[in-house]
């Protein structure tokens, strides 16, 4: 199992409210979300359905709707909501003041 390493990913204002940013971390696609309540989440940028880029979805409550086939994924747990089943990986996030940190797996370690 990979070791998680805390990384600094910038400030809160870099992420639009009810929006997302994509993180470039080695070969992984990871998405950072900020909800209307200012909670920040980091999850694998890949829908458990067909791998759609969740970072391009519409954010509502603490969920995102995948732009390809409208699956609704919980940003909190990474699990598909409603009748769909499947799950994508989530990563710990820490907001200190205005700074945002994410714990990501260090593949090369």
């Amino acid at each position: 199992m990979n070791v998680l390493i805390w990384l600094e990913v910038g400030v809160l204002d870099d992420i639009p409210i009810r929006g997302s940013r994509r993180i470039k971390h080695q070969e992984r696609r990871i998405a950072l979300f900020r909800t209307a309540e200012n909670t920040v989440y980091a999850i694998n940028d890949s829908c458990p359905h067909e791998g759609g880029p969740l970072s391009e979805g519409i954010v509502h409550d603490n969920c995102v709707t995948c732009p390809l086939h409208n699956w609704v994924i919980s940003l909190d747990t990474g699990a598909a909501q409603g009748a769909d089943s499947g799950s994508t990986e989530t990563y710990p996030v820490r907001v200190e003041g205005n700074n945002v940190f994410v714990a990501l797996p260090e593949l090369n370690s």
Partner: protein
Amino acid sequence: MKEKLIVIGNGMAPGRMLENLLETDPTRYDITIFNAEPRVNYNRLMLSPVLSGEKNYADIVTHDDEWYENHHIKLHKNTPIQSIDTIHKSVRTHHGDSFAYSKLVIATGSNPIVVPIPGSDLEGVMVYRDLDDVEKMISIASGKGSAVVIGGGLLGLEAAAGLQAQGMSVTVIHLADTLMEKQLDPAAGHLLETAMKLKGIRVITGATTTEIHGTSQVSGISLKNGTRIDCELVVMAVGIRPSCSIANIAGLTVNRGIVVNDAMETSAENVFALGECVEHREICYGLVAPLYEMASVLAKRLLDQPASYTGSATATKLKVSDVDLYSAGDFSDSPDREEIVLRDAKAGIYKRIVLENELICGVVLYGDTTDGPWYFDLLKKSVDITEMRETLVYGQAYQGGVSLDPTAAVAALPDDSEICGCNGVCKGTIVTSINRLNLTSLDDVRSHTKASSSCGTCTGLVEKLMVLTLGENYNPAAITPMCGCTHYGHNEVRRLITANSLNSIEAIMQSLEWNTSCGCAKCRPALNYYLVCEWPDLYKDDYQSRFINERVHANIQKDGTYSVVPRMWGGMTSSQELRAIADVVDKFNIPAVKVTGGQRIDMLGIEKDDLPAVWKDLGDAGFVSGHAYAKGLRTVKTCVGRTWCRFGTQDSTGLGITLEKRLWGSWTPAKVKLAVSGCPRNCAEATCKDIGIICVESGFDIQFAGAAGLDIKGTEYLGHVNTEVEVLEYVTALLQMYREQGHYLERMYKWARRVGVEKIQSVIMTNSEQRAEYVARFELSQSVAQVDPWAARVNGEHHYEFNKIEPKPIRATA
């Protein structure tokens, strides 16, 4: 063993009779049909729309092969009957085969009258009766040449309008002094003549054709006064004659038609007749409503139920677009008759009601025909009109006790008043079916009752009946909430945004008590659109409530890459533009380049982060966004038009470009695609678009509400205008009406189906004030909407969309 029922003829009358029969008792008879035509049963009323190109054969089939199979009916196509033996009860086909019957129904219809003048046997002289005639006419017409129609009656005028729509220049020759003199009084006849002339059809009344010229093929005609008219096609539409030869051979009593009594029996036992071939109480009928009444009586009689046919009062409605005409009953002058006349020249309205002993005996309506069925009902029921005489001419809405609300007017109709004239369906039948079969949609009602399934003009009435019968349960707009976040439907939300001046998504959710904190992916884009449309210059677009395609102005693909489509106005391009595209493709290693259905070039497989650079290069070459991703104006497809094409009647390409330049950038409920064709051959396929323009010699036909996607649907005719300026005005008004009324993601054809094609037509084509208001609101919206989103992003807007965050290791803290 079942009784054998043989039917000779397969037109609309026997078709309806069999439907009635099978509905009551599907098992009693073993049914065989002999048809001289090589086809199944089709709706002959709809031949005119086929001729004008609005419909095709498949659209007008009433019973397909499967129907006959499912009902175990043996249909012999192409099989005329040679003789009937009423003694031994059998018929013989022209092949010589003999078939026994226990009951025989003759429904041989009628034949068109050919005027026996010199040249009437030339190639190119035709009648207008069945699908073969129509197909032949279409092949001769093919967008060019001249046609003469002899006969200015109902059929002749519909043929003339159809041929004109096919691109021919048409002259109508009519014997009497005014058109449709059997159905119209001279005043209305003149109004009709003016309307036909405005459509570009030449009309010569009081004229007798003396000769048709030509060697083998028609080349022209001569009139009695010496006038000669050149033409390649002559259509005779002077009337019909009951087709009785088989009845004559069988020795049945025949006058003008096959004589039948009130039970639809001929002079021979077990032999019945119905339709245009019969004469009942010395009258022969040529309209569909009486034939259907006969069908209903005969079906009952064949099942030994009591029923008798006592004759029909007839009403006529002309099926020529832009011309609203209705007549019923008898309106010839006589000393004991009085009349009430209303003329409004400005509005183009003429109404004449003929009274005898305080009863209506005839009515002619021109320009506004909505009250036609009401007058006809008063006529058929011999209602004493003394009480309402003062206001009678203003129509049903002005009568005491009945409010102006059209639904209340429908509620006030008696159960036996006819709603659907084409199919003879009355109010009681529709209401009973809705209740008994639990019908909740218009389509259900159409398929079970046949009401509104032919010409469709009564759709509004049928829907009002559904509202009356189902109440809350039929309110297609309100019944479905927008999404799980609210109980409000799209209509109410739009209404409340306006009524309460709600100007942000948060305000809507707060005021309308949304049950989620910030909506969902269904309602947010809808609310955002409604606000963009309602407050174009005040509302700040919420990009986080847009689908990704509209947020980044490109189309997301299954692998997360994007496709980019630059705008090519009207589908025109140049070597310079193509070179620029080629350079972009090479520079960014774009893996696929495709020509789209809307005449644009699509570059596929572009990484999101490359988009601004791609747009920069395209922008430098003069390209702007093609909005191929937008719920907005997509493309205006065109043909090359008059500039190049030998058939082109107008500058369709130029008009397409002008339309696109006017409409681009506008957000709409769902995508909007246009096309402009330079002639009725319609190479730009305008008749399956949201809005389509067909250029003709006399101007432009505006079509709308077509679809060629999940649903396939030909367009509806909006109206004819004479100039390009008017095209822009009417199309703009139509688009704005749709922008303001459409539910989010509801394509134009679905919107039109929901609010009613006729209603849209009447607003856009006849209400110049409302039209101007729509145009003004659209222009305000465009003043802020026409900003190239690509250029804005090249200049840094939403730059965070197009680059990734690179995480940094945390500095070690001491």
